[in-house]
Amino acid sequence: MTEPTEREDRAILEALAALDAEAPEAPPRAGDAAAAGPWGASPEETEAQETLRRLYLETLGLLAYAAEPAAPPPGARERLLAALGEGRGRPAEPPAAPRAAVVPFAAPEDPEHAAGSGFEEPLRRPAPRRRGRSGALAALAAVLLVAAAGVAGWLYLELDRSRGAVARLEEERARLAERLSRQEALIHRGGQIDGVLAAVSTPGVEVCPLHPMGDPPVAPGAFAILYMPPGSGTWYLLGSNLRPAEGVYLVWLNTPRGNVPAGVLESGKQSILELDAAAFGDLSDLTSITVTVEPSPDMPEPQGPTVLYGDEKMTVL
C-alpha cells in the first residue's frame, strides 16, 4: 500500500511529466501499466492516484493565468479560421431544400410532329409557356417557404442535439465533481489517520477515555478516546459506534471557567475529530471532556443529554 504523502508526490511528478508529453491531451493515466511501476496499486489507490494527478495537472494549467493576458491582434482569429483549411471533417450540411419539380420536356404541340413524320424528332425544349407573373412569384414563394421550413427544422434539430450534448457533459461534470469530492474526503481522512497514528505513537502522549453515560446508556456501545501528544497543538478525538442521532454529537472541553464547544464528532463506526488545541487558549485547567447530543453545532452551552464523558488523563507511552 502506498503512503498518502508518497502518492501525492508521485502525482505531482506525473503531472510535471505530462508537461513534456508529446500529446498533452493524453498523458498517461496513473493506472496505466507503464505508469503503475512497482507500486502494485489497488483499483481504489489507482483511482485516487488518477484524481490527484488530474488535480495537479489542473494546478499547472492554472499557472498559465499568471501571465499577463494579451488581446489577439486584429485579424488573428480570421487568419486562424482561414488556416484551418477544408481538409478535415466539416459540419453536417443542412437537409437540402425540396427542389422545384422538374418539368419534363413537353410533347410537341405541332400536330405534324405529334402525328409522327417518319423520323424521330430530337427532344427539344418547348416554347416557353406564357404564365402569369403572379403565378411565377407564387411558385417561387412556395419553394422558398418549403426551403425555409427545411432550414428551420434542421436548425431545431441541431439546437436540440447541442443541448443534449451540453446536458450530457453537465452530467459528466457533476459525476466528476462528486467523484473528486469523495476522493478528497478519502485523502483528507487518510491525512487524519496519519495524524492520529503519529499522535498515538508520540512518546509521552496523554490519553483520556470517554465512557458512555446514562442508564440505560444514551448511546449504547459508543466510546471515544482523546489523544493529546505533548508539544503538539493538535489533539485527536476518536469516536466509535456513534449511531446517527437526531442532532449532532457536540464535543465540549470543560474547565472551571466554563464549557467550550470544540466541534462535532460525526456518527459512524469510526470517526475522527481533529482539535486545534491552541485555538482554545489555556487548557491546563481542563477537568473533563463531554459529548452531548445537540440540535445545532452552534450551541453556546450544552443542553442536550450527555452521551460520553471522560475526566481521567493517563500517559500510555
Binding site: 495537479y56 493565468y65 501571465a67 482569429r77 478535415r88 439546437l159 457533459l169
Partner: protein, 197 residues
C-alpha cells in the same frame, strides 16, 4: 413547433461541448474557443517566447492542433483550459529550444521596440480576471525559492535536473521545493480547480 429562441448555442455551450463540436468539424466552435482562451494563451506564449509575433504563431499552432486533435480530447483527463494551456506551452517551449543564440538576440531586440497590442483587459472575461488575480496572488505568496523552480519548470520548460544545473541547487532540493510549491498551490487554488472540472 417553433424552434426555441436561442440564437447562438455556441456561446452558451461548455468548453468540452465545444471541443466535441470541433471534433465534428465546427469552425464556429473553434471561433468561440478562440474568443474564450486566446487572450490567456497569447499571454502565456508571450511570457515563454518573449516575442509578440512568434507568440501569435504559437497560439495559432495550438488552435490548429485543437482542430486536428479534438477527437482525442478526453475530458476526464484535463479541462479544456488546461489542455489548451499545456499545448500552447509545449509549442512555445519547442520554439525557444529551437532558437539559436542569434535568434534570441533578435527577439530580445524586437521586444525592446515592440509597442504591444491593445490591452486585453477589455477582452478578458471577468471570470478569467478573477482567476488570474487568485493565481497571481497565490504565486506571489510562495517563498521566492519555490516560485523560482516553478517558473523555470513551467515557463522555462526546464526539467528538474536542468533547473538544478542552471541554479546550482542540489537536485533533491529542487524536487522538494517543487513538491512543496505544488501542494501549496493546489490547496490554495482549490476553488479555481473545481471551476475547471
Amino acid at each position: 413547433m417553433e424552434p426555441p429562441a436561442s440564437p447562438d448555442p455556441y456561446r452558451s455551450a461548455g468548453d468540452a461541448a465545444l471541443v466535441r463540436a470541433v471534433g465534428e468539424g465546427s469552425r464556429e466552435a473553434v471561433a468561440e474557443l478562440y474568443d474564450r482562451f486566446a487572450p490567456m494563451l497569447l499571454g502565456l506564449a508571450r511570457r515563454v517566447v518573449q516575442d509578440p509575433a512568434e507568440a501569435e504563431e504559437v497560439v495559432q499552432e495550438a488552435f490548429v492542433h485543437l482542430w486536428n486533435r479534438a477527437r482525442g480530447y478526453d475530458s476526464a483527463r484535463s479541462s479544456v483550459a488546461t489542455w489548451l494551456a499545456l499545448v500552447t506551452r509545449s509549442r512555445a517551449i519547442d520554439r525557444i529550444r529551437n532558437r539559436t543564440v542569434v535568434e534570441r538576440t533578435h527577439a530580445a531586440a524586437g521586444r525592446e521596440s515592440d509597442g504591444g497590442h491593445a490591452s486585453a483587459e477589455g477582452a478578458a472575461r471577468v471570470l478569467d480576471g478573477e482567476r488570474r488575480r487568485r493565481v497571481r496572488a497565490e504565486l506571489a505568496g510562495l517563498p521566492d525559492e519555490q516560485r523560482q523552480v516553478l517558473d523555470l519548470a513551467f515557463y522555462g520548460g526546464l526539467t528538474q535536473r536542468e533547473i538544478a544545473e542552471r541554479t546550482g541547487i542540489p537536485l533533491g532540493t529542487v524536487k522538494t521545493r517543487t513538491l512543496l510549491a505544488m501542494k501549496k498551490l493546489r490547496a490554495a487554488l482549490r476553488d479555481e480547480i473545481r471551476e475547471l472540472l
